[in-house]
């Protein structure tokens, strides 16, 4: 036996951990969908559940590998800033001085104020200035973070789900079905995501739900291909043969044996993909086909303020830009650490 193990060590959970993390997963999914459905804000409680759920999941993922994960200062910085940004996004309602999505709370007379200004009546200070609608940039960033994050997480999860199904199915079924599915995947992949999304958004019109759909469409194929790759190499492993030899039915082998082994490699990919999705969403919003203009995401905030960069009203675009950079970079950094932590090939 070689010193380097070839299979990734599984996420090793005690029974209690497993149950907790499953519950956390359900909680996260539920709260996320509530967040996304956009009908009002989910109550504080459920958002707290979401946060706790996320932390539990993360802890479960890293159980026993904290030391390795937190090697070097960048891991601390990235985790801390990610955590901070996520908390800010989740509790945007409570934390932001203004609801930037509520037009009644905006007053164009407060428009384009530099950081530190106060409202007409002095009731509120705009720490990061305002945009031309009188929208508090700080509040805009907090809400925008939430939009950017939830849109990209939702799109990533859904795309991953579709990709997993298609990927596993084609790897398992083989033959013609596989060929056809993979051709479709190739086709989708040969088309740059930004163009597809651009066309889709032009056709659909704006809207949170629409951008999520567009982002799903541009991403699913990527997962499908990755999963198929993993599934193919997993089906070649002898434990699948063993299961067949034991007379287990196909569905049981696929769901009980194959599936659980195909998903973990996706965790790292999907982290990075969330970051990419945020950037893609912001590019789309920047090009004017993203989220609704009254509910700006970070990208839209940047786009709106973009025209003011040269004129010295840098804050409208600069601060959202910094926030975007921070969230994307910290997700990427955490993803990087995750990869290094979970990748068995670098294990020593």
């Amino acid at each position: 036996m070689s010193a380097v193990e070839t299979t990734p060590p599984p996420v090793d959970l005690g029974k209690r951990w497993r149950i907790t993390s499953r519950m956390a997963g359900v909680a996260v999914a539920a709260s996320l969908s509530m967040l996304l459905s956009g009908v009002g804000l989910p109550p504080l409680v459920s958002r707290i559940i979401l946060l706790v759920g996320l932390i539990v999941l993360a802890a479960a993922l890293l159980k026993g590998k904290y030391r390795k994960f937190f090697s070097g200062p960048s891991a601390y910085v990235a985790t801390a800033s990610l955590l901070l940004l996520v908390v800010l996004a989740i509790f945007a309602t409570e934390l932001s001085p203004q609801n930037p999505y509520d037009l009644r709370q905006l007053d164009i007379m407060d428009g384009r104020l530099p950081p530190g200004s106060t409202t007409f009546d002095g009731s509120m200070t705009f720490h990061l200035g305002t945009d031309e609608q009188g929208r508090d940039i700080l509040s805009g960033i907090l809400y925008g973070l939430r939009v950017s994050l939830s849109v990209s997480i939702a799109a990533t999860l859904a795309a991953m789900a579709i990709g997993v199904v298609v990927g596993i199915y084609s790897a398992w079924a083989g033959g013609r079905i596989e060929t056809i599915l993979m051709r479709i995947v190739d086709f989708q992949l040969s088309f740059p995501s930004i163009l597809v999304a651009l066309m889709l958004m032009a056709a659909f019109g704006r809207g949170l739900d629409k951008i999520v759909i567009a982002l799903i469409i541009v991403q699913w194929a990527y997962y499908a291909r990755t999963v198929r790759g993993t599934a193919l190499s997993e089906t070649r492993k002898e434990y699948i043969d063993a299961a067949r030899g034991l007379g287990l039915p196909d569905w049981r082998i696929v769901f009980g044996h194959l599936l659980p082994n195909c998903i973990p490699p996706l965790i790292v990919i999907s982290t990075v993909q969330v970051a990419n999705t945020i950037v893609l969403e912001s590019s789309l919003s920047f090009l004017g086909v993203g989220v609704p203009i009254t509910q700006p995401s970070l990208g839209l905030l940047i786009a709106n303020g973009y025209g003011y960069m040269l004129s010295g009203q840098y804050w409208m675009s600069m601060y959202p830009g910094v926030a975007l950079l921070a969230i994307v970079a910290s997700i990427n950094m955490v993803g990087d650490r995750l990869r290094d932590t979970l990748n068995p090939r670098l294990t020593r």
Partner: protein, 325 residues
């Protein structure tokens, strides 16, 4: 090789046909071009006449059949806006985009590979970590933002480089290119850098991963056991091995670079296909949109093909198998 060619051809035909269908109906869903094209002063009657002139009065499937019929003869229609054959129009814009993407690619390799190899070599040292952190920022920065910042810094504040436009062009092989004139090159630097930044980070990471992986391989150890210098090991043994995946990825990325040129070209007013596409989307110039997408796909196919060939040339394992078949 023949099989490979034929297979590629078959796949390409499939992709093209699928693309035609998807694109036609996709584009068809977006608005009515006449609403944009016609002068606001025009009377409803004139609107109708214009619709008829472009054939919009016919049912979708008839339009589609016509489109397919023409497309099979290589005619993707005339631009509504410019009145020129769409393909010709795009071809006239294409050199600008291609040279930009190419320079971007060169930048990203020039920046990415050395950094990546070095980072891989010093993976556990601060140098390696610093490069990796830098690369994360590299690909976390949105394209449009970078472009604007570069303009602000290099064109407006420092005035080192021109901000937008194309500059002097030289006619080479019937294409007018900037890359061969000093003036033109100046104009290209900022947009190419913007375009290259993301890819450079990607290449850095790929090169680092590849280097790390390669350094763990027995053949590197064996090369060391032969008494080779570290430089030779990195430059010959490691580099040649990692160039294979890098070239593959980069080739594919060249495609997405051409696509992402949409954003960059908008920011830098670079007269390439991407800008033409955005303009065509705003004016709903359907034939141009369709032709753009079709041509992009063809470029993709050509790029993929070239990548495969290069891959074959680089990787003897594939090359020899290719000879055998």
């Amino acid at each position: 090789m023949l099989v490979f060619l034929l297979r590629r051809l078959a796949q390409s035909v499939f992709v093209l046909i699928a693309m035609m269908i998807v694109v036609f109906f996709g584009v068809y869903m977006i608005g009515n071009p006449v609403d944009i094209l016609i002068s606001p002063d025009a009377t409803p009657l004139e609107v109708e006449e214009t619709m008829a002139r472009f054939g919009f009065d016919q049912p979708v499937h008839i339009q589609f059949l016509k489109f397919i019929g023409n497309a099979l003869q290589g005619d993707l229609g005339r631009s509504f806006v410019h009145g020129e054959p769409a393909v010709q129009l795009i071809l006239s814009y294409m050199p600008a985009t291609l040279e930009l993407a190419l320079l971007g690619l060169i930048f990203s390799v020039m920046i990415g590979v050395p950094l990546g190899v070095y980072a891989g070599y010093k993976a556990d040292r601060w140098q390696g970590r610093a490069i990796m952190t830098g690369s994360i920022f590299g690909f976390s920065l949105p394209n449009f933002w970078v472009g604007m910042l570069l303009i602000l810094i290099f064109a407006v504040e420092l005035r080192w480089l021109p901000s937008t436009g194309r500059g002097e062009t030289v006619e080479v092989l019937g294409m007018r290119l900037s890359i061969f004139s000093a003036d033109g090159l100046q104009y290209m630097i900022l947009p190419a850098l913007t375009l290259a930044l993301y890819k450079a980070s990607l290449v850095t990471r790929l090169a680092r991963a590849g280097t790390q992986e390669a350094l763990m391989q027995d053949y590197v150890k064996f090369a060391r056991a032969k008494g080779l210098s570290e430089t030779r090991i990195l430059v010959v043994h490691v580099l040649k091995n990692i160039m294979i995946p890098i070239i593959t990825v980069l080739g594919l990325e060249l495609g997405s670079m051409i696509a992402f040129a949409v954003v960059t070209e908008t920011v830098f007013a670079w007269p390439g296909m991407g800008k033409l596409l955005i303009d065509s989307i705003t004016t709903l110039d359907r034939p141009v949109i369709v032709a753009y997408l079709m041509l992009t796909v063809i470029i993709f196919i050509i790029i993929n093909f070239t990548v495969d060939v290069i891959y074959t040339l680089l990787d003897p394992r594939v090359r020899v198998r290719g000879e055998a078949t």
